[in-house]
């Protein structure tokens, strides 16, 4: 337990000191939010309609693109290879690293995104439901992004491949995240059901992603 805590702390401290983590992801998020009205037009009604979807898509792109840092430095300086010989199995290592990624980019973005919704004229009554759905959904997003990062860790140009591999897997989180955030015409019971399903999907991801990541990392270590 102590070792896991040490691992988590190490990752948090590293991402804090290296910078580039939260800050860049946040900047990217803002850029997408600016581009959206520029592409669609400034009409307030239209923006209000697409605001939850736009925020979700900006969120999942930012989480995805900040993910390659999860393993790349540890892979390059060899500390990941040391971890393969450690007492903690790689599956657990990758779960902890994904958790650290969630704490440093998924969670802050999920909290900030709905608040920035005013830029897209988001209905104010939706801010907190959206935040709840995003906080829960971003766990899954971070873990899937971690899986994508693990699968491409040894590749020189993994970025595009990660997007192709991971974005289709984001589909369920996006769909249930949207309806759990109360957007659209759905009633409260549908919102509650979506929330429950989003929770279940997150659990599935929490089980599948670390196993996949562990196996992928082992394939690269050999």
């Amino acid at each position: 337990m102590k070792m896991l805590w040490a691992l988590l702390k190490r990752d948090l401290v590293l991402s804090w000191r290296q910078g580039g983590g939260v800050g860049t992801a946040f900047g990217f998020f803002l850029t997408v939010i600016v581009l959206l009205p520029l592409g669609i037009g400034p009409d307030a009604g239209v923006l209000q309609r697409i605001a939850p979807g736009g925020l979700w898509i900006a969120l999942l792109l930012s989480v995805l693109l900040s993910a390659d840092q999860i393993y790349s430095t540890d892979y390059e300086d060899g500390s990941l290879e040391l971890m393969t010989f450690g007492a903690v199995p790689l599956e657990v290592v990758s779960a902890i690293k994904s958790l650290a990624h969630w704490l440093t980019s998924g969670l802050p973005l999920a909290i900030a995104a709905p608040l920035l919704g005013f830029l897209l004229n988001l209905d104010t009554s939706l801010v907190f439901p959206l935040m709840g759905a995003m906080v829960l959904g971003s766990v899954g997003l971070s873990f899937l992004a971690g899986l994508g990062a693990a699968v491409t860790v040894g590749l020189r140009r993994g970025g595009l491949l990660v997007s192709l591999l991971v974005l289709p897997l984001y589909v369920p989180v996006l769909i249930f995240g949207i309806s759990a955030g109360g957007a659209g015409t759905a009633g409260p019971d549908i919102t509650a059901a979506s929330f429950a399903i989003l929770f279940a999907i997150t659990l599935v991801i929490l089980v599948v992603a670390p196993f996949g990541s562990g196996a992928a990392l082992r394939a690269y270590m050999r």
């Binding site: 491949l161 192709l164 289709p168 589909v171 769909i175």
Partner: protein
């Protein structure tokens, strides 16, 4: 296990493949000939859909093939991971492009069927959308094989990608259907109505034809991959001698 080991032997596989190849090709050609004859000439035009109902005879087999090949690919990957069966990796690799072509055909024929039926080529209907995502999964899988040079590493990573995708396919399908039902209360389905035998028989023949086409091409592609690896090894050996 012993049975699997027998087919794992590449030389034995090659010999077997050579023996069955002409038969498989002949069966495929025959099935296509009979199926197309029924589909284009014998089957009656639908009283509602008119002649466009004939699109179904190539749309449904392609769609069926697309899902079947993905399941097959995931199964091969699982066998590769669990039993370290040397042919299973190649089997999954060889299946992917064929599956991608089937998926693409299912999408295109679906869109072409949609134009006269719905008035537009593309509707974000649940089935079309989930096939779109399936197509992306195929592309990702193929891209993994192309991105990684080392064969064994590529095989491992590709297997992980296929298996994770296989876990996700039902979830994606479920969520897309949910999403569709929220946005489009009236779901149009063609499966509800009972299918008449004059339609069902050519449909089944065409499904069999697509399946046999897959089987034939798949075995041939595995053979090709085996040969390619052998060539690679020989060239390496030669280079080392020099």
């Amino acid at each position: 296990m012993a049975r699997i080991e027998k087919f794992a032997n590449p030389t034995r596989f090659l010999r077997l493949q050579e023996k069955v190849q002409p038969w498989l090709a002949a069966i495929t050609a025959l099935l296509f000939a009979v199926g197309l004859y029924y589909a284009l000439a014998k089957a009656p035009a639908d009283y509602q859909q008119g002649e466009t109902v004939r699109i179904m005879f190539i749309h449904v087999p392609a769609a069926w093939g697309a899902t079947m090949v993905y399941a097959f690919m995931a199964l091969s990957s699982a066998i590769a991971v669990i039993f370290r069966h040397p042919l299973a990796d190649l089997s999954a690799k060889a299946a992917a492009p064929i599956g991608a072509v089937f998926t693409f055909l299912a999408l295109v024929t679906g869109a072409l069927w949609g134009k006269p039926m719905w008035g537009t080529y593309w509707v974000w209907d649940a089935r079309l959308t989930s096939f779109f995502v399936l197509f992306l999964l195929y592309l990702g899988y193929i891209a993994v094989w192309q991105a990684i040079d080392d064969y064994h590493r590529a095989a491992k990573i590709a297997a992980i990608v296929a298996l994770v995708g296989a876990v996700n396919v039902p979830i994606i399908k479920f969520s897309v259907e949910w999403w569709n039902s929220l946005h489009q209360p009236s779901i149009m389905s063609s499966s509800g109505s009972s299918v008449h035998s004059s339609i069902l028989i050519p449909l089944l023949i065409m499904v069999a034809a697509y399946s046999f086409l897959f089987l034939t091409l798949h075995l041939l592609a595995i053979r090709s991959e085996l040969r390619k690896r052998k060539i690679h090894q020989l060239q390496l050996a030669q280079a080392q001698k020099v």
